[in-house]
Structure formats: structure tokens, C-alpha cells
Symmetry: C2
Subunit: 326 residues, 2 copies
Amino acid sequence: MTTDLAKLATDIAAGNRRALARAITLVESGRGDHRADALTLLDTLGTTQQALRIGLSGTPGVGKSTFIESFGLMLTGMGKRVAVLAVDPSSARSGGSILGDKTRMEQLSRDPLAFIRPSPSQTQLGGVARRTRDAVALCEAAGFDIVLIETVGVGQSETMVAQMADLFVLLLAPAGGDELQGVKRGIMEIADLVLVNKADGDLKAQASRTCADYAGALRLMRKRAQDPDGFPKALTVSALENNGLTGAWEAMQTLSDWRRDNHIWATTRAAQARYWFHEEVRLQLLARLAEDASLRAKLAQLEQAVTDGATSPAAAAASVIATLDS
Amino acid sequence: MTTDLAKLATDIAAGNRRALARAITLVESGRGDHRADALTLLDTLGTTQQALRIGLSGTPGVGKSTFIESFGLMLTGMGKRVAVLAVDPSSARSGGSILGDKTRMEQLSRDPLAFIRPSPSQTQLGGVARRTRDAVALCEAAGFDIVLIETVGVGQSETMVAQMADLFVLLLAPAGGDELQGVKRGIMEIADLVLVNKADGDLKAQASRTCADYAGALRLMRKRAQDPDGFPKALTVSALENNGLTGAWEAMQTLSDWRRDNHIWATTRAAQARYWFHEEVRLQLLARLAEDASLRAKLAQLEQAVTDGATSPAAAAASVIATLDS
């Protein structure tokens, strides 16, 4: 390992935010040599330090930034170090969000106990997942107590984030049962905590009704092994008026404490690591196939044949594998 | 192709049920030469004939068999040919269900227009998926109008079946909002139609309330591109008293017609074929890796290291790929 990498590791472990930012840029790089350095760095830092990883999802308009700002400041007010990672595979299109994030969380971004890092433009989800996982690991190595992983709540990114978070929070806005909430169906499956924001002013009553609707919907679903009694839970909050935030934080602690006490925390993290191992093997195998131009062409041609129903998926796959043996 | 295979193909196309049963046994075989024959047979039969593929999920006790018996007899009564495939990865454990199925659907199993095939004992989901996909293709080639793919509603098998069905039906029993329905959360995501069974006798009112609960829960979720207005829908039925079955069938037809008219049917099938192509490439690649004993040992050892947090998923995967190059 280069002395430069060794110093970077030491600086990160010492909680140097500039070093952390540099390391994240390194893990985000597509260059092969950068990737090798990133892996060395991550293995040097190890996984001994653990933060509470909170996945947070909410569609635009639910007041996600306001919530993160208020919730984050409440946590730093308790002396906790908070890192915010924004995951947005679509940011390639809505590139503005990259600059946006910090300005949307003005106070928090200036808080010495906080670190905010938006997602870089990425088109391929596999790349976003790897980058985010590495960034989370770096934030833990840098000694942050809480890592908030924010997603936009419309894509596949939620399930991906759920595979790297200790608990998952869904943020909603008040709405009638018939109004479209724009909640991707899969998110109901992974939510540990549903927070109905904007429970203030004219929307207060509406927020309570929405909260009751979701509490009812959650009761219709089977309790998971990782749920203590009363979870998944639905609560109302007002990020604007700082109402319900401590209650939400208490619920998150109750849940994470219970999971720690019942050995679910550790087993979940181990299962997540295995999941990403197999995911990485798959990704790297496919990447290796893609290196071969003729094979890449064959894959595309076979995919078309399968799409047209000209050949069966199994037969097409078999002929891909056959080319590997030749 | 052997004359035997050619004859088998002709017999299947002619709608010979014994030939169909033999072919399914062939696709279920783990033997390499059988697998090769199966692929030849499937490619010979092609994919020109299409049935309406209905995924049906419901936990034990909701009256699934009674529903399939009544619903199936209603369809055969309309002169439709109905195939029922039971998918149960757990049947390795509850082996009884294999004999069970036919006795649970006495009349339908004797109906010349019907064909019932339970899942063989299988432990690995990948194997179950391939086998079921092949069996569905064989039933379509045999000219069945409707293929019912039944799952137990407790495992991952639902999402797998959803990837090979044209529409997905969730069967429920009447229950209070606070009672556990045992519905796996993911199923709410893929359900096109929720049927609350046992809407008869003392449970009638309870069934209506349960139906309303689920209708409400479905309204909280975002409408999908493949949903016309009013879908996903929740209805009450009584398989015992043959109530609501025609209504349920009408809803399924409305949905499938709409999807046909809006070119969603064809594009969905094409997307499913692509999904299974990539899934097969993945499975067959991993199978090939597993052939190498030393590599298999390395994979197991690395998985353990990842589980223990001794190495990162990415680094572990990289060293797997490295062994392939050496």
C-alpha cells in the first residue's frame, strides 16, 4: 500500500472530513487503478466501527430535505455525528440535485458534526449500489454514529438501500386514501417506520388520517422476524415545527436496540454482506463477459432472439455458456 | 432429434395428456441428457400458442384447493381447457402435498378438459423456476387455454411465478384487520386481483370487511403502468357456494384484454423472457463455477470470510474472478 493511501486511512479514522470526501471520490472513480486503491483502503479500514444505518425514502414533495435538516440537527444537538448520503440513480438526468442537496440542508451542511454527500451522476444501478456501500463503510470507519441513506422513493434504489441499512424509514405527505401517494409498492414491504410529515397547520388532521390509513395497511401484512411488537409503526411528524422528531428517533432506537438484543442486527448485517458478495460475483462475471466484444454481440443478439420468442431463455443461456468453454 | 422426441412433440401438440405428463417428467429430470432432450423438445414446440397464465397465491387454510376446483370446473364448463401447476419449493418437506393435490381437486382431476400437475420435491428455487417455466411452455404447446400456477404464498416463489404469469391473483380468508393474514408483504406488490374467499355463512360479513380493508390498502399504493382504472381490484368470492367466481373471471378477462389492447401483454412476456434469459445465464455460470471443486471450496471459504466481516464483498468477489483468469 502506498504511503499516500496509508495516510488517507489514518486521516479518515481520525475523523478528517476532507479525507473522507477524498476517499469517497476514490471509490466513485471508474478507473481500474482507483478501484484497486479503493479496495485496499476499505480492507485497511476494516468493519470494526459500526454506525446506525438508516435508509430513508420519500417521493419529491414530502419534505425530505426539511426532515433531514431538522432530524439531523436534532441528532447533532445530542452530540451525535451524522452522515447523509443521497442515492439517486436518476441524478444523471436531474443533475441539479447534486448541488441542490447542500443548499436544501443549509444549517446541517455547516454543522461540524454532520457530513453531507450527494450521489454522483450514475446510470447503472450496480455502480450506484457499490459506490453507496463503499461510502457507507467509509463513513463508519470515520466514526459517524448515524448514516442516513436517502433515496428518491421512485426507483429500484429502495430495495438496494434496504440491503445495506439497519432500518428503513418511509416518509410520506398527508393525502386522502384515494389520492396517489406515489409510493412504490415494494417500499411497503421494507418499511420499518412510516412517518407522515407536514403534520402541521391545515394539514394536521389530514396527516393523522393518512397515518391511520397506513397503520391499517401495515397491520394487514405479516409480521416479519425482524419486527418487535408494534412494528412496523406509523407516526406523524412535522419537520417544519420540529414535532414528533424525538418520538421518531425513540422508535428507531427501540427497534435497533431490540434487534441488537435479539441478535438480528448482526445476523442481518452478515446476510447483507453475503448478498453483496454474490451480487458482486454476478456483476464482475457479467463485466468480464462484456469485455469480450464478440461475446457482447452474441449476448445482445440472443437477448433479441429471446425477446422475439425465437428461442427459449434456457437454450439461449446454454449457448452463451457454450462459447465460454470453446 | 430422435424419432421418439419428434413423436412426443406431435402427441403434445395433438393435446395428448399422457404425452404432456411424460414431457413434464422429462423437463423435471436432473440428468444432463434429459436436459438436452428437454431443450430440443421445447424449441421444437416453439412459443406460438399462448394460454392465459394466472399466478394464484394463498396461504394454507384460505381454501385454495376448493377455489381451484370450483373455478377450474366453471372454466371447463365454458369449454375451456385448464392446466393447473402447483409450485411448492417446500414440498420437499411437506411431501404429502404431491399426492394431496389431486385428491384435493377430485372432480377437476377427472375432468377431460383439465390437467393437474403438482410440483415435484425441489429444494433449490432456481430448479423450481426452470421446471415450472418449462411445464408452462409445454401446457401452452398442448393447447391449454388457461394455465393456473398455484403457489403456497409463504416463500419467494410468488415473485418467481409473477415473472412467468400474465396476471397474479391473491386468495385470502376473511379476517379482522388485526389478525395475521400471513400474507408475505411482497405479494401485495404483485397482486392484480385480491379475492377474499369463504364469503359465505357466518363469515360473509367478515369477508366484506376484509375485502374493504384490502381495497383500501391497495389504494394507498401507486398505480402501475400495467393497471387499467380500478385495478388492482379486491373482490369477495365463495368457492364453496360458487359465488363471485364469474365476477372474478370477468375481472381477469377485463384486465388481460386491456393489457392486450395496450400492448402490455406482449411487452410483458418479452420482458419476462429477457429476465429468465439473464437468470439462466447467472444460474448456468454459477453451476459451472460449482463444477470446480477447489473453486467451490474457495467460494464457501470467502462467503464465510464475508459473513465474519473479515473481508469486503467486493474484494472477496474480485478474488473469485481472479481464480477464473489463472
